[in-house]
Point group: C2
Chain length 196, copies 2
DNA sequence: CAAAAAAAAGACCGATTGGTCTATTTTGTA
DNA sequence: TACAAAATAGACCAATCGGTCTTTTTTTTG
């Protein structure tokens, strides 16, 4: 890894949580400078502009969540257990430092939907990826005869994502997780109900 | 209504949709000026600072949604029908101009949770108000023997709010309402299932 | 070890930010 | 209709915004 690749990665790592908490419009170049301890010249030497830093930061945040879910899911085999990883993870979101600032998809979607087309595009792709992941888990479960075959993969995926994001929003703003626990408890019941 | 009260109201009406689309950090004084067609002196003559305009704009946006829901709910009598007003309204959110820019609670929550304590407080109160409204509708339904008496009012309220907000977020960012329709369809089934 | 190339620092730029203050206009009232 | 008071306009302010450019430092390479 070259020097510049290294600092580029460093800048992304350090600014990713800042963008996730302050948002795109709320994060300034001086925020980026103080978060990294680097000069303006250095940052513009590695990124074309603030936009590029923001996009890389989103990718980093989203990737981190994805990696975590992936390893947890692949640690289990049964389809029902795999689906249960989602409510189980988000139920205790405060335990995971990279979720403290909130879900990157949720934050980015609500800010960028009317203002920042490129970030919006990233959020849409992330949502689609998440949805098809869940759908595939369900299809796999049906094939493996672990999930009822009349289950609608899309419906379950949409309900799971909606519930998680909606409950997460409430947990973040209220600083309590009673609502999140109730919603995730319901999701667990729903998932267990898919069992063949 | 005095002149100043009049223009104050005018400023709030004109800027409310701007704050809801661009967010607090994304809306500038010049945005406020061009949205109202008024001078800086006029705006600062009626509001102490940008904060006060933002808070008044949130109240306006939230109130508008509340008023609409209230009249639709009071137009029905049966508790199940009253609960169904929520999925029925949000299913066709694009029909209501004041929801085009998104749900004010969702937008404000995700932006202000880490940055703007006063807006955050408003969002929390709005969420609590919504939650108790739904809980009360369910309690009323149990008393009137329209809803199963083993129904947990809080659980239903949390699920409804989570589902609506999560699905709404997806609809806004993807510019399509397939997910919203699926989620609201599920909510309808769930509500009908509470019928005694 | 010297020269060339790459990377980082920071002075500097015009534009825009939120906000102030005075001049002007509009309004209500005597 | 004259005058005081309220309301609006807009010039002006320092600070900050995103971004450029030259200088200095660090690294690579012959």
């Amino acid at each position: 890894m070259s020097k510049s690749e290294n600092t580029r990665q460093f800048i992304v790592e350090k600014t990713a949580p800042v963008f996730n908490t302050k948002g795109y419009a709320g994060t300034s170049m001086s925020d980026i400078m103080s978060a990294t301890g680097l000069s303006k010249g250095c940052i513009y030497g590695n990124f074309e502009n603030k936009d590029e830093v923001a996009l890389a930061a989103f990718d980093f945040n989203h990737n981190k969540v994805n990696e975590h879910m992936k390893t947890r899911i692949l640690a289990t085999d049964n389809s029902i257990e795999r689906l249960l990883v989602y409510p189980d993870t988000y139920k205790n979101y405060f335990k995971y430092s990279y979720l403290q600032a909130g879900c990157p998809i949720l934050n980015t979607s609500t800010e960028a939907d009317d203002t920042h087309p490129r970030l919006k595009e990233r959020a849409i792709k992330a949502l689609n990826f998440w949805k098809t992941s869940i759908e595939n888990q369900i299809k796999r479960g049906i094939v493996r005869k672990e999930i009822k075959e009349d289950t609608d993969p899309t419906e379950v995926a949409v309900i799971m994502i909606s519930m998680i994001e909606g409950a997460f929003m409430q947990a973040k703003v209220t600083n309590r997780n009673t609502e999140l626990k109730i919603a995730m408890g319901f999701l667990e019941k729903m998932i267990l109900n898919l069992k063949l």
